[in-house]
């Protein structure tokens, strides 16, 4: 993996982008910008003196090695990183645990149904915001906008996949429930859970992939992860609807709950997408 990364960095922009991303894990944005400016000057002077970008990149070492060297001279970066990670990591975990409880049997008992809708909205907003802070999304967007790498962004498939999975799951569950009278009720329940679990797996993997890419490649993958979480909650909310359905308690209201979860995910993804774009523009103007 490290090898492919080294091959990938061939230009000054790509190098500085990667360096900025790595440094932001340990230092505040102002310090990172100062360091990046130094390295920018290094590249421009090197070119004046007749060196190629590739020579300079080899002489400087990988961005990870540069960060390690700076951390050795300025060890306070480690505690800065730890403090930030601890605070936002705790908020993120809290939101994740609450959501998990809400969508499992314990959650059913703990949360009142009416409150649960608002609770989900709140927890989802809190969780995504904490994840964004944990990744240092704002600062990353500024740095990435300044050293723009147009190739580093998710394709439309990253959005289509969870949306497709959610739609397919909904259609299949709907179909299964419609035929519930003809098949044995327990079999329908089992089939429904299997379909829902498959849909959840697809969306959860997309969300993890999106978060991983936001951390390692570009913050522009973040909205895709948020959108996938919306799709995941859409599918999990359907689980409850189908359960209630099977108990012969049909209420129109319950159909809106999954849709509300997805819409919130979609809306949050849009918000993050717009925010990141704006921040990147701001970084690019400098």
């Amino acid at each position: 993996m490290i090898k492919t990364r080294e091959v990938a960095i061939q230009t000054e922009e790509a190098y500085l982008n990667r360096l900025g991303r790595t440094l932001l894990r340990y230092f505040p944005i102002r310090q990172v910008e100062e360091i990046l400016e130094d390295y920018q000057e290094h590249f421009s002077l090197g070119r004046e003196r007749g060196g190629t970008d590739m020579d300079q990149i080899t002489a400087l070492g990988t961005p990870e090695a540069v960060t390690a060297a700076i951390l050795k001279e300025m060890p306070e970066g480690r505690s800065y990183c730890l403090r930030r990670t601890a605070i936002w990591g705790a908020v993120f975990l809290f939101a994740c645990c609450c959501l998990l409880m809400r969508y499992t049997y314990i959650g059913h008992i703990l949360f009142h149904r009416v409150f649960a809708d608002l609770g989900t909205c709140f927890l989802m907003t809190l969780g995504t915001a904490a994840a964004f802070m944990l990744l240092r999304g704002r600062e990353l967007a500024v740095v990435e906008g300044r050293f723009l790498q147009p190739s580093l962004r998710p394709g439309i498939a990253a959005y289509m996949l969870p949306a497709g999975a959610a739609a397919a799951t909904a259609a299949m569950v709907q179909h299964l429930l419609a035929t519930a009278d003809s098949i044995e009720i327990a079999a329908v329940g089992l089939l429904c859970s299997a379909v829902l679990d498959a849909g959840s797996l697809v969306t959860i993997l997309t969300a993890i992939w999106g978060l991983w890419r936001s951390y390692g490649t570009s913050i522009r993958y973040f909205p895709a992860a948020v959108h996938a979480v919306g799709a995941l909650l859409f599918i999990r909310s359907m689980d409850m609807v189908s359960e209630v359905y099977l108990e012969k308690f049909i209420s129109r209201q319950l159909v809106w709950e999954p849709l509300a979860a997805y819409c919130l995910g979609f809306f949050l993804a849009l918000l993050f997408w717009y925010g990141i774009r704006k921040m990147m523009r701001r970084g690019g103007r400098r």
Binding site: D38, H42, L45, G61, A69, I70, E73
Partner: protein, 104 residues
């Protein structure tokens, strides 16, 4: 070279480099890299950055007739004092090493 020993030596050499005319960070690093080829350029930048932060070195932006203003590095009074101290330590160390017969 031993990491602990190297740390001090690199600092001493960088201070010596800085003691002359104000220079670009790039030129200082290139010169150091010539003498210590096994040390990456980034290590020198990191030490330079620390010296700047500790007040031993100062930076200023100098205008060039054609092109952007660039960062120059220069030794401060505190830096000069530290260089003098380190040189004295170094000389004493050399004496001890010679007295113990470690040389050759």
């Amino acid at each position: 070279m031993d990491a602990q020993l190297k740390k001090g030596v690199l600092e001493l050499c960088l201070l010596q480099c800085l003691s002359g005319e104000p220079q670009y960070g790039y030129d200082i690093i290139q010169m150091m890299h010539k003498y210590f080829p096994e040390v990456t350029e980034s290590t020198f930048y990191a030490v330079l950055r620390r010296l700047d932060k500790e007040g031993a070195a100062a930076t200023f932006r100098g205008e060039v007739s054609n092109g952007p203003a660039r960062k120059y590095y220069q030794l401060t009074g505190a830096g000069r004092e530290r260089l003098r101290q380190m040189k004295a330590d170094w000389a004493q160390l050399q004496k001890i090493v010679a007295a113990l017969g470690i040389e050759k």
